[in-house]
């Protein structure tokens, strides 16, 4: 069984026909060609698949594409503005908040949502927010530093 759904992804509207079993992640990656979001654990734990659905972080690997019908999705590809990296992305580059990069799209999407909600988070708030974004390479220290740097940079 297939359904035609309408997704607004990074501001652009798409009508896509998907099998009902298609996950939102697979729809983004394979039907829309947005391969920035990754599948890691496949059970919603690791955060590599994190996207924003109507501004809220979700695990797209355990969300069906049909759940997002009529809604707005933000992926890592939608963070940069006019060819310039989002301050969070730039901070990850400057502070070394990534290594292999496979968790990085999920990390920066979550970090952007964090700074939108809490512009100057404490380390405790950062750790609570980012609990669900696993990283195997960095040990997290430079992710915390990157988020701190992004917060400082964005302060008016």
């Amino acid at each position: 069984m297939t359904r035609v759904i309408r997704l607004t992804v990074n501001g652009t509207s798409h009508d896509v026909e998907v099998p009902t079993y298609r996950t939102l992640l697979d729809c983004l990656r394979y039907d829309l060609g947005l391969t920035g979001s990754k599948e890691g654990c496949g059970v919603g734990v690791c955060g590599a698949c994190t996207v924003l659905l109507d501004g809220k972080m979700i695990s797209s690997c355990i969300a069906l594409a049909v759940f997002a019908d009529g809604r707005a999705v933000t992926t890592v590809e939608g963070l940069a503005e006019d060819e310039r990296l989002h301050p969070v992305q730039q901070a990850f580059v400057d502070s070394g908040g990534f290594q292999c990069g496979i968790c990085t799209p999920g990390q920066v999407v979550s970090a952007k949502a964090l700074l939108d909600a809490i512009p100057n988070p404490s380390d405790a708030e950062t750790r609570e927010w980012m609990l669900g974004n696993l990283c195997r390479c960095t040990g997290y220290y430079k992710i915390i530093e990157s988020i701190r740097a992004a917060a400082q940079r964005s302060r008016p």
């Binding site: 059970v43 990534f98 292999c100 496979i102 669900g132 195997r136 220290y141 430079k142």
Partner: protein
């Protein structure tokens, strides 16, 4: 010595594509007409295959091909010892072994098809524990393992894959000289490398009949060779297109599912993508070997080690295929000697067949197991001798001029300095509150060796392109190589670009792993840059204009049909005189009511060579430490009777951002390494001593000595209870 680019705290400038989502990993590659492959796996640990019926699967709409062993040549694969079939032919040897492969229009249809394949099995007796597997009468997994290509000759039991020994002096004589002898046995768990990108690959046969491969594999030339053998094709017919890799940690060096993808591509006439689900990684990836390790150490009355005998059983699972070392064993077994001068030493490491998941290499192969055992053992000895564990170590540390069992004559030994640095930074001797403890542990790691080709080319815009066929596994090595070239040529970093090429563009490269890329890739890039610098100098002289820009020089040469370009092949021989020491101290608190262990802080001290990229270097230390932390306290792929029960990454318990303690890093930088600008290596330095540092701290905090990993609250709780019971006066005593 001050450099312009080397050693500067620049960020990870190689990461723009990663933070923006543009980086294309193997699973992101797409081609017209691409279809999806999936494998059916054995539900039994040891069984004969009586019958496979694929008719229902083939009839499912959207299924394009279904293959069993009957459809494939009778080929065995491996990395050094070739004992594993592409698909099980008439026998399965572990739960998770590949039995059939399907290609379909999408991965969901492919998985539905798997459920429609009917297989009839007949159980065979199985064995799971490595101690049991080498007893007389144990079920035998392979009828004639010695006949496999690459099989080492020594086989004391048919279930032994390989034996590796390290020997110095005469260990029995040594024990006779000893004043006291101690023996302890330790166990470590099955642990996955935990890379967040499961194995992924795309195989396409192009119009010229060449096999195009994109794979999460960190040694593309070796992959090309292994595929050539597995597919029975000349190597020139295969091209490996490099992609960034989402974490390797030793686990991505085999052909994995790629031969099946090839056969599915042949059967369907379409490109095939295969991505393992994480459940499949946990059932059939190639995780870190579990181990049973017994150490027996004899010391004199001053606590100096006179003799040590180590017997390690590594539970290798059903196949030896995933081990790449010529010994088909784990080189880390040599760390049974630790960081100590041991005149009489015998280490025997056995890799054993059992009906479990076949294991492979993981970060510092064999070492976290061995160092957990060895460094826990040292603390237990110190306690028996009533010596401060730091002092026992001091009395035995390696020194300049010492010779290791592998023949290396060590120079520039900073074992003592590194230990003292860790002790100082961790406030080792400060008073502690109740239920708080500190523990130390040390290890050392040689600099990795291998061979790499690097080419540098001066472009007509005056920038330089460095070409390598080394994949990006995340360590930051590509940035390091750019820095090396920029330093040699006197250029700003952003005028040096890196180009990752394919296996068509160079003859060979040993790839990533073993903490070797800064050394081998770095030296190749360094010498190639030196050659280019000479060419540029010669060219400038010819032009007669000394201050000419690089762009002008390149353009002048181009007008004559020449490109200024230099290639260097560097084959790093073992640098037998230099190693790197790590000393770590864990400070923990133990909750006596629950046994829960909290790491209050952790100190890691490293004796390193010149640091080329400080942020990248520190990132390796931090990442390795947290992997060691997970290994020590929480990670386990749980298996019982060959059946893995932790089938989701959520069950394995990788550390989260809330699980990390404050970390203090102490660096002792000594420019004596064989790498460019005297660099050493760091990738595998920080992982191996973490678990024993924590185990020793737990013992210090509460007296509970945990001999098997991971150190869970439950184990500490019951150890404390047993201790309390042992110390409580007996009823009879109380009554009298």
């Amino acid at each position: 010595m001050a450099h312009r680019v080397v050693g500067k705290p620049i960020g990870r400038l190689d990461g723009i594509e990663k933070v923006s989502g543009e980086a294309r990993y193997s699973g992101d590659v797409t081609l017209p007409g691409l279809v999806w492959g999936k494998t059916l796996r054995s539900p039994l640990p040891h069984a004969r295959i009586l019958r496979i019926d694929t008719s229902r699967a083939k009839a499912l709409a959207g299924v394009l091909a279904v293959l069993t062993a009957r459809d494939l040549p009778n080929i065995l694969v491996g990395r050094r010892m070739f004992d594993m079939p592409l698909l099980a032919r008439d026998r399965v040897r572990f739960i998770g072994e590949r039995v059939a492969a399907v290609a379909a229009l999408d991965p969901d249809i492919a998985e539905e098809a798997l459920a429609l394949i009917d297989v009839e099995y007949e159980d065979l007796p199985a064995v799971f524990d490595p101690v049991e597997a080498i007893k007389d009468g144990a079920p035998i997994l392979h009828d004639d393992p010695g006949a496999y290509e690459g099989a080492p000759p020594e086989r004391p039991h048919p279930n032994v894959q390989s034996v590796l020994r390290f020997k110095l002096g005469d260990v029995e004589a040594g024990f006779r000289e000893a004043d006291r002898v101690f023996e302890h046995t330790f166990r470590t768990q099955l642990a996955h490398q935990g890379y967040l990108e499961p194995h992924a690959g795309v195989v396409a046969i192009d119009e010229d009949g060449r096999v195009q491969v994109w794979a999460s594999n960190k040694m593309p030339f070796r992959l090309k060779e292994l595929l050539s053998l597995a597919l029975q094709l000349p190597p020139a017919q295969i091209r490996v297109n490099l992609t960034p890799i989402g974490g390797d940690f030793g686990g991505k060096g085999s052909v994995m599912d790629l031969p099946l993808a090839y056969h599915l591509a042949r059967a369907t006439g379409r490109p095939v993508k295969m991505i393992m689900r994480y459940t499949e990684e946990l059932m059939a990836g190639n995780p870190r070997h579990p181990a049973v390790i017994t150490l027996r150490t004899g010391v004199d009355k001053d606590g100096r080690i006179v003799a040590r005998r180590v017997r390690a059983l590594f539970n290798s699972g059903a196949y030896a295929a995933f081990k790449p070392a010529p010994s088909v064993n784990l080189g880390g077994a040599g760390m049974g000697a630790g960081v100590y001068r041991i005149p009489h030493l015998l280490i025997e490491s056995f890799c054993v067949y059992s009906n479990n998941i076949p294991c492979g290499h993981a970060r510092s192969p064999g070492e976290p197991q061995m160092v957990f055992a060895g460094e826990s053992h040292m603390d237990m000895i110190a306690r028996e001798l009533a010596l401060d564990p730091a002092e026992l170590r001091r009395r035995n540390l390696l020194r300049d001029g010492d010779v290791l069992a592998n023949g290396h004559h060590l120079e520039h030994v900073r074992a003592g300095d590194t230990l003292e640095a860790a002790l100082k930074a961790s406030n080792w001797s400060e008073p502690k509150g109740p239920w708080i403890g500190r523990g130390a542990a040390m290890t050392h790691r040689h600099i990795g060796v291998g061979f790499t080709n690097a080419r540098v080319r001066l472009e007509t815009d005056g920038t330089v392109t460095l070409s390598v066929a080394l994949p990006d596994t995340g360590t930051g090595a590509h940035l390091v190589l750019r820095q090396v070239v920029a330093e040699v040529l006197g250029l700003p970093l952003d005028e040096v670009e890196i180009e990752v090429v394919t296996t068509d563009d160079f003859t060979t490269d040993s790839g990533v792993g073993g903490s070797r890329v800064t050394h081998t890739g770095g030296r190749a890039a360094y010498h190639a840059a030196e050659k280019l610098r000479e060419q540029i100098g010669a060219e400038a002289a010819r032009l007669g204009a000394p201050a000419t820009s690089l762009a002008a020089i390149a353009q002048a040469a181009a007008r004559e049909g020449r490109t200024l370009e230099a290639t260097h092949f560097y084959d790093a021989k073992a640098h037998g005189s230099v190693t790197s020491f790590t000393a770590q101290v864990a400070e923990v608190s133990v909750d006596p009511q629950t046994g829960q262990v909290t790491v209050r802080r952790f100190t890691t001290a490293h004796d390193v060579g010149t640091i080329i990229n400080p942020i990248g270097h520190q990132g390796q230390i931090e990442g390795g430490f947290v992997q060691g932390l997970g290994y020590a306290l929480m990670e386990e792929v749980k298996t019982e009777d060959g059946r893995i029960s932790t089938l989701s990454l959520g069950d394995v318990k990788l550390p989260t951002i809330q699980d990390i303690p404050p970390l203090t890093t102490v660096i002792l930088e000594d420019p004596v390494g064989p790498g460019p600008f005297n660099a050493k290596a760091i990738g595998e330095g920080s992982i191996s001593a973490v678990a024993p540092a924590i185990a020793n701290a737990v013992a210090d905090a509460c007296g509970a000595r945990i001999l098997d990993l991971p150190i869970t609250a439950e184990k500490v709780y019951f150890a404390l209870r047993a201790k309390a019971k042992a110390q409580a006066p007996s009823v009879k005593e109380r009554q009298s």
